[in-house]
């Protein structure tokens, strides 16, 4: 939030000495791009988070059943994907050529649906839930789905809120998906707009040894504009935090459960 001259002449300072909103005006000079990106990012972050959390919980809960055959195998199957991946090319072929998800909002949501890391985290939490309540519910004739939705989920609000927050932030900061899969400028994510600037700078410096192209630095926004972009992009994500925080702080204890 410092004006550009101050930045140039005295460098970064922890406390800005010269306050200016010029950069923000510049960022919002052409607001449709940013507004589109906001809409898209918000949509896929919310939908993606909700679906991800639900599906991951559905995966994690059965894994806590020690009697379930193949439980360790599934855990290993999941873990394996954490470490090994076929790289970008096969995924790209699958997603664009066979599933036709390129240039749709679903490409932000579907491929990254299951995060193994958070699934395991949920599993650990579900493990700690008192099994006896479930057993008494079973005696009452409740099915596993009923137990899952009626008891497991409500009891695990803190972890679900925590995981949801992580996923939400992960989605909010997604720029690489836009880079690879999105052609339609109306569908790019907010973070991509910021990352593009950084990538442009990197591109210019990489090619600095190559005199055979004309380098045009004038399209690179000034540093204060970049900072303003960073704030505009990250800001709203900061605002969602209190919303999730409510759930951690409430802290649901066993006592509040009533079957």
């Amino acid at each position: 939030m410092t004006d550009e001259k101050t930045l140039l002449y005295s460098g970064y300072q922890v406390i800005p000495s010269n306050f200016s909103l010029e950069a923000y005006k510049y960022v919002f000079k052409n607001p449709t791009t940013i507004i589109d990106a906001y809409k898209v990012t918000f949509a896929f972050s919310v939908i993606g988070t909700a679906l991800s959390v639900l599906l991951m919980a559905m995966l994690a809960y059965p894994l806590t059943k020690k009697e379930l055959k193949g439980r360790n195998f599934v855990s290993f199957l999941l873990f394996f994907t954490m470490l090994f991946s076929g790289g970008l090319v096969p995924s790209y072929i699958l997603i664009t050529r066979y599933l036709h998800l390129g240039d749709t909002i679903w490409v932000y949501i579907l491929p990254s649906m299951i995060s193994v890391w958070y699934t395991f985290m949920m599993r650990t939490f579900f493990n700690d839930l008192p099994k006896e309540i479930f057993e008494s519910a079973l005696v009452d004739g409740a099915g596993e789905f009923r137990i899952f939705f009626r008891m497991v989920i409500p009891l695990s609000k803190p972890v679900i809120a925590a995981v949801a927050l992580f996923i939400f932030l992960g989605k909010w900061n997604d720029w690489f998906t836009s880079l690879l899969y999105i052609n339609d400028p109306k569908l790019v994510s907010l973070q991509y707009l910021l990352q593009k600037i950084m990538n442009d700078i990197k591109l210019l410096s990489e090619n600095s040894g190559n005199m055979s192209i004309q380098k045009d630095t004038s399209s690179i926004p000034t540093e204060s504009v970049r900072m303003a972009m960073a704030i505009v992009v990250a800001g709203p994500a900061l605002l969602v935090f209190p919303f999730f925080q409510k759930y951690f702080v409430k802290g649901l204890t066993i006592g509040s459960v009533k079957g």
Binding site: G11, Y12, V14, L55, M56, M58, Y61, P62, K66, E67, K69, S75, F76, L77, F79, T81, M82, L83, F84, S85, G86, G87, L88, P90, L94, L110, I114, V116, W117, F120, M121, T124, F125, D128, P130, K131, E132, I133, G143, E144, P158, V159, A161, F166, L169, N173, M198, E206, A230, A234, L238, F241, P242, Q245, F248, V249, L252, T253, I254, G255
Partner: protein, 315 residues
């Protein structure tokens, strides 16, 4: 209510049969597993790219096998031991310092009885997570810049000679650890905090009534509850010990050549090679190498954990 708690504590793991419910549980897993299979396992055959001389005209399957040739550029390199050492040692440092500070921060939150204070502190701790490495790099630069940096100004004020941070490697393991911890501690602590919320407050109160001191409570009640989570998260992190956070090592160090001896890691080395050669097969093979090392380490850690307490193991 007390009944429930008691039951929980004395319960033994009943090894009954699931009967019909087995299918309900399998059904529940089916959709998420479908996603895993489609988006993770189907593309996995691409690992073979790392062992091939990939020509687009011949496709992945049709390209020629070249064995381990794609690994040579890194493994045969003079820098291999240096970048491996940097990657593993720094990651180990991050894991240890990260876990300890996250648990401590979570405990502090837990102990803070005032809700407003908790909220304020949590927000302060979590904010760094929202900042991209690029922004963090600017902030670090504001502190360490040789000419205008805050730290050098303070040093100057005390008459201590200024340090040219970006050309002195010896400080960087420390700087990187602090930066990394600062960025992740808030979010990691949220997980532990959520676990603490799950601890039965009656247990805690009972201990307090018995006159147990704070430390004793932490040691005997709180930590044991966190151990499973610490174990899982650490095992998972060990799986990625051979992977470095590119943003941290590239942006925060400003890719300063003078620091390479301690800050050059596998991912930055790969990046540099790719920018000059543009050969994708290299990144696939390096990724594979990282996975294999991670896999072996995780299997070992998991085995040990299982020996100690099977409940805490990953699988």
């Amino acid at each position: 209510m007390k009944e429930v708690i008691k039951q929980r504590k004395v319960s033994t793991k009943s090894k009954g049969t699931l009967g019909n419910r087995k299918w309900q549980l399998y059904g529940m897993m089916a959709i998420p597993l479908l996603f895993v299979i489609v988006f993770s396992y189907i593309p996995m055959f691409g690992i073979i790219i790392g062992f091939k001389d990939y020509k687009y005209s011949r496709g992945i399957l049709g390209s020629e096998w070249v064995g381990l040739k794609n690994f040579e550029f890194m493994v045969k390199s003079n820098d291999f031991w240096n970048i491996t050492r940097n990657t593993i040692l720094l990651n180990l440092l991050f894991i240890v310092v990260g876990v300890i500070s996250a648990v401590v921060v979570a405990l502090i939150f837990y102990e803070l009885k005032s809700r407003i204070a908790t909220k304020v502190y949590q927000t302060i701790f979590i904010t760094p997570h929202f900042l991209s490495w690029v922004v963090v790099a600017y902030m670090v630069y504001a502190l360490l810049s040789p000419e205008y940096g805050t730290i050098n100004k303070i040093l100057g004020a005390f008459g201590i000679s200024q340090i040219n941070w970006y050309s002195e490697p010896k400080w960087w393991p420390l700087i990187l650890t602090i930066t990394n911890t600062w960025k992740i501690v808030g979010m990691d602590s949220v997980i532990y905090y959520a676990a603490l919320m799950g601890i039965d407050s009656t247990l805690y109160e009972a201990a307090e009534v018995d006159g147990a001191g704070k430390l004793k409570i932490v040691k005997n009640i709180i930590l044991p509850c966190l151990v499973p989570l610490i174990a899982i998260l650490t095992i998972l992190k060990i799986g990625n010990i051979f992977r470095a956070d590119f943003g941290l090592f590239y942006q925060v160090t400003r890719d300063s050549g003078a620091l390479y001896s301690v800050t050059d890691v596998i991912d930055t080395y790969l990046y540099r090679t790719l920018t000059v050669t543009g050969d994708m097969s290299l990144s696939t093979s390096v990724g594979f190498l990282q996975s294999i090392v991670g896999m072996v380490l995780v299997l070992i850690t998991n085995y040990i954990t299982r020996k100690i307490n099977p409940d805490n193991a990953l699988f």
